[in-house]
């Protein structure tokens, strides 16, 4: 299925079009992890009216070196089973998790992340894992998340970035995304040797 957004997307920061590379990425995570809020904030739009996503969104999010065409999927129980229908054509994955969620929810998030990491359409792609809600007192630390999610053993051979962040600290979010874009650029260059 084509979700080429070049012709009809709404570029959320209205500026002159510049020849930045575009990458198509998919953004998943449990409901309440903060996907919609982070993406909206990255577009400098107000997060006041955000409610749980029950479908999916397509947003072109601009960064200094690239534009990410993000397909963001709702994360409620009844929607997660449809995630894989939207994986085709993705060049990268953004996984958002609530660092301060309950043990049960954290376990569900771990299962979902592992499924994504192993999914045939995603397993060769770079992952940006955003450990969100770091501003909450119950938030697990970076080391705790890395250990709990078993990233080192499970995601061996895959390219991933684990970035702690919160909507209060958009610099950290942008830092994570910039590193992620570097990964996407590296992979792009690997696939097209000698391209001008």
């Amino acid at each position: 299925m084509g979700w080429n957004t070049k012709c009809f997307r709404t570029l959320c920061c209205k500026g002159p079009p510049s020849p930045r590379t575009e990458y198509d990425v998919v953004c998943v995570g449990l409901t309440g992890s903060g996907k919609s809020s982070l993406l909206t904030q990255l577009c400098s739009e107000s997060t006041d009216s955000i409610i749980p996503t029950t479908g999916f969104r397509i947003k072109a999010v601009p960064f200094q070196n690239a534009i990410l065409n993000v397909k963001e999927l709702g994360g409620a129980d009844n929607i997660r089973k449809y995630w894989s229908r939207y994986y085709q054509g993705s060049q990268g994955v953004v996984f958002v998790l609530d660092s301060a969620s309950s043990e049960d929810d954290l376990e569900t998030a771990r299962n979902e992340l592992h499924s994504a990491l192993q999914h045939p359409q995603l397993c060769t792609l770079p992952f940006l894992i955003l450990a969100n809600h770091q501003d909450k007192p119950a938030a697990r630390s970076l080391q705790e998340i890395k250990k709990y999610f078993e990233l080192e053993p499970l995601a061996r051979g895959q390219r991933w970035i684990l970035q702690p962040c919160s909507v209060e600290n958009m610099d950290a979010v942008k830092e994570g995304f910039n590193q992620f874009i570097n990964l996407l650029e590296e992979i792009d260059q690997e696939h097209t040797p000698g391209r001008l």
């Binding site: 299925m1 080429n4 957004t5 012709c7 009809f8 997307r9 029950t54 479908g55 397509i58 929607i79």
Partner: protein, 208 residues
Amino acid sequence: MAWKAPGGSERPAPGPCPRPRLPLAPPADEYSILFGTGDRVVEMEDAEVENLAISISSDVDAEFDAVIGHIEDIIMDEEFQVLQRHFMDKYYLEFENTEENKLSYTSIFQEYVDLLEKYIEQQLIERIPTFNMATFITSLQQHKDEISGDIFDMLLTFTDFLAFKEMFLDYRMEKEGHGLDFSGDLIVTSLSKSSSLSPASNNIRPFQ
């Protein structure tokens, strides 16, 4: 990609006479060789290669033009129009003008492609037995500035989800009169207080 190439021969069928189309203009001195008396043997060889390149490019262009011509005929035809309208009528109420997309849009998109794009492909194969969709799509990217806006927009709805959604939203606006519901705004009020007076005396005819 939603496009699927049908089986068939790789070799394009000879098309109608190529429409004259200027390739990138060669430098002035080569032009003079093509049209001049050409007594410089070395440059004549270059001109021959140039001629061959132009003629191959013209064949491909001609084939592309032929396909576009057929697509215009197909989508203008009553059968396609009915098929498309019926499909749009079935689903247009599902589409809302919000940033968020319902999951159902995805399955409707898939159904749309399966129904309408396949129909066009079948019609094209009937007209051009050696038609190859994959080749055509590649040509489409290169020629997109030359195709009329309507045709290009239509073809885009098969590969670009947001274009597809826009099409449905436009259809809905059209069906619903630009989203404005006038039925509450127009009220017919009798000028007479008594309802027993005949309509004729008020010069108001009753609604039939």
